[in-house]
Amino acid sequence: MSRSDVTPDPAADGDGPGAAGPGADPQVAEPPTAEPPTAEPATAKPSHAGPPHATSSYATRFSAGLAAGALRVFLVVAALFWLLPTLGLLLSSFLSPTDLNNGGWWQVLTAPSRLTADNYERLLANDTITGSLLNTFAIAVPTTLLVLTLGAFAGYAFAWLEFPGRDWLFLLVVGLLVVPVQVALIPVSELFGAIGLFETTAGVVLFHTAFGLPFAVFLLRNFFAEIPRELLEAARLDGAGELRLFARVVLPLGGPAIASLGIFQFLWVWNDMLVALVFADSASPPVTVALQQQVRQFGNNIDVLAPGAFLSMMIPLVVFFAFQRQFVSGVMAGAIK
């Protein structure tokens, strides 16, 4: 899930469920399944084929039932494909190193008593891993706040302030949306080296912020632009300054978009490995880098890797399940819009 990958939709504009409009947001977040599943072929088809083919209706119903059965089997198999990999690592994380060496994690399904939380206890007692989780927080939280603040300021300026060159500047920012982070690795590491930010948490935060901004500006500008002009006019007539207007009118109205963006940005930084690999302080790396160093000896350290990976996934999963709606609309805003 990489924010800079999300590309403004090249083809489907108005007709896709727009994600950036204040009004459109809730619908977008609604999973499409909220639609009543009326199109069940098993029932729909015979009723339409009804009168003329009354004699063949048993056959029709039978074949429709068969199709529905095949459909279910297919989906169950697919669900297993999606479930098993994660389940495997989860169960492995609860097995002792001896049990891990003695056979596959699936054996524990018949012997659940082997499950133990020892790996987690050992891992939580390990300062490198717990420290790296804190480091990840120390990177992800400031980055998210910075991106939201700077992005909201700039988004507001692009939406409602008048200045020469506004449009081409905005297009430039949109253009930066697809610039791969890889392009900046060498130049920025030299730059940071020159000003003493290389291998510091501040450096990682600044780098992430810069690469988070194009999407933030793009999303928030479009969202803010939908605020009814009359609201702003009224506030201006009341003598509110731009800063006040921004804080009292625009920010509260932009809440949904800011929330989506914040969640998206937080997860993106939390999950990043490449930027941290290059710019993070090697003495206090974030959790992705700490675990990556373990991957090199993959095989005899699953008792460290599996629980480590799950600890690192915990926050994203909690965020994902708690804020599904915002997360989905953030993803959609990136792609559909």
């Binding site: 399944t33 729909a44 297919f74 495997g88 300026a157 449009d167 697809v178 690795l185 780098f207 095989g299």
Partner: protein
């Protein structure tokens, strides 16, 4: 009325879909122009924009220019080398592999993920637990590529007792071709058995009914013997029948003599024995748990053969992370992560497809496949295009998954552009010049998408 005219060409290039171009921003004094008021507004705008623009300029725009410049210099950065770095991209074997693999990624990954997403989106509309299914498939989007990498490193583990992919594969394989119990067994020194080619062994001399045959083998680890194996017994002579013993002719701790059934030696339970006369199998037998066997009189004068099936190596599955399969394997992990993205976007598009249209087609006698093929897919085409483009850009920059899943020894075979860039730019043998050239190449590959985006925004603004 505000004074939108203050902005040169009204609306040209004002992006945003529902903002009419005339909607200028603030209230303007009737006498616009560069009044003190306008200057104040510009200052405010600058203050709002400056922090973001400074960061973008220093850390995103400047690096693009610098990479371009740096790519024309050598490793140390002091000598201008012209296009040499770019030529090296095309001539260096490792980088060429990276290029072809990236091409493979771009062709395979987005299409597979989109196709699966489409199938899931359409099918989940029809089952009651569709939402749960979607949640499950979408979940990997939330986790890091590192975590997904670790998950799949375990899935693809070569050991069928650890990697679930090989466990399933070997399980399926063994249902059709049973593996043998004695993969390493072979005749010892001075054995009456000899190699018959193709992995089978045969006696040197024809056997006689009534004379017990000895078929000694060595080389099976004691703990690898099948369950139920007992100490080898001596076969008694039976008139009119061929009897014998097939056993492990090796006494633990030493002391046994070769080609003799010593007291503690183990029989090869379940070994298959064939009697061959003139190239034809005339009789077969299976060794009992003490290694003894009995053949009928037809075997008299035949050669006894231990067919290759007894010695076939246990099937150990596919080497998913070997040089030839590693790229498809990592692509599989990527599809696992991103099919949910495609599914959710396509699902949203699907919700916007008018139901009446589908119903009308069904009433007209179209079957489900025709409805899908002729109505649903064409209506979804714009969404499918968005998903594909997004995934293509994403795939061009793929790094973490390959870096984590591909074991060190096959990273050259799994190489992709972004990984090569990292390996070239950092580490012990870093060459920032070449690294910059790869970075520029990567940028050039995504620029067309950038242009499409900008053009679309332009068009929207002028509408």
């Amino acid at each position: 009325m505000p004074a939108p005219a203050a902005k040169g060409a009204p609306g040209a290039g004002v992006p945003g879909k529902r903002v009419p171009a005339e909607r200028g921003p603030a209230k303007h004094g009737p006498a616009s122009g560069v009044s003190a008021e306008a200057r104040r507004r510009r200052l405010i705008a600058a203050a709002f924009l400056l922090p973001a623009l400074v960061l973008l300029g220093a850390l995103v725009v400047h690096p693009i220019g610098y990479s371009l410049y740096r790519s024309f210099f050598d490793r140390s950065g002091s000598t201008f080398v012209g296009g040499d770095n770019y030529r090296e991209i095309l001539s260096d074997d490792t980088i060429r592999t990276a290029l072809t693999n990236t091409a493979l990624w771009v062709v395979l990954a987005p299409t597979t993920a989109t196709a699966l997403g489409l199938i899931f989106a359409v099918l989940t509309e029809r089952v009651r637990w569709g939402t749960a299914f979607k949640l499950l498939v979408f979940m990997p989007m939330a986790i890091s590529m590192l975590a997904a990498g670790i998950i799949f490193r375990l899935v693809y583990d070569h050991d069928p007792d650890r990697g679930v992919a090989n466990a399933v594969w070997v399980g399926v394989h063994d249902t059709f071709a049973e593996s043998s119990a004695f993969p390493k067994a072979r005749p010892g020194r001075d054995s009456p058995l000899t190699d018959a080619g193709g992995g089978a062994f045969t006696t040197r001399d024809p056997v006689r009914a009534g004379t017990p045959v000895l078929l000694p083998l060595v080389g099976v680890a004691p703990e690898a013997l099948p369950d139920g194996t007992r100490t080898a017994g001596t076969a008694g002579a039976e008139p009119g029948k061929v009897t014998g013993t097939v056993w492990q002719d090796f006494t633990r701790g030493g002391g046994g003599s070769s080609n003799v059934v010593d007291p503690t030696e183990q029989g090869f339970a379940g070994m298959r024995i064939e009697a061959v006369k003139d190239g034809k199998v005339v009789d077969t037998a299976t060794a009992r748990s003490d290694g003894t066997f009995t053949l009928s009189g037809k075997a008299d004068g035949a050669l006894l053969r231990l067919p290759a099936a007894n010695f076939r190596e246990a099937y150990s599955g596919v080497e998913w992370l070997g040089p030839s399969l590693v790229t498809p394997a990592v692509i599989g992990a990527y599809v696992w992560m991103w099919a949910g993205f495609a599914m959710v976007l396509i699902g949203a598009g699907l919700a916007a497809v008018p139901r009446e249209l589908l119903e009308a087609a069904r009433v007209d006698g179209a079957n489900e496949w025709q409805v899908f093929r002729r109505i649903t897919v064409p209506l979804l085409a714009p969404v499918l295009a968005v998903v594909l483009v997004t995934l293509v850009i994403n795939v061009m920059k793929i790094f973490d998954l390959v870096f984590v899943i591909a074991p060190g020894a096959v990273q050259d075979d799994a190489n992709v552009l972004a990984l090569q860039l990292y390996r070239t730019s950092f580490g012990t043998d870093a060459d920032p010049g070449l690294g910059s050239a790869i970075a520029v190449l990567l940028l050039v590959l995504v620029v067309p998408v950038m242009l499409v985006n900008i053009r679309r925004l332009r068009k929207e603004g002028s509408r």
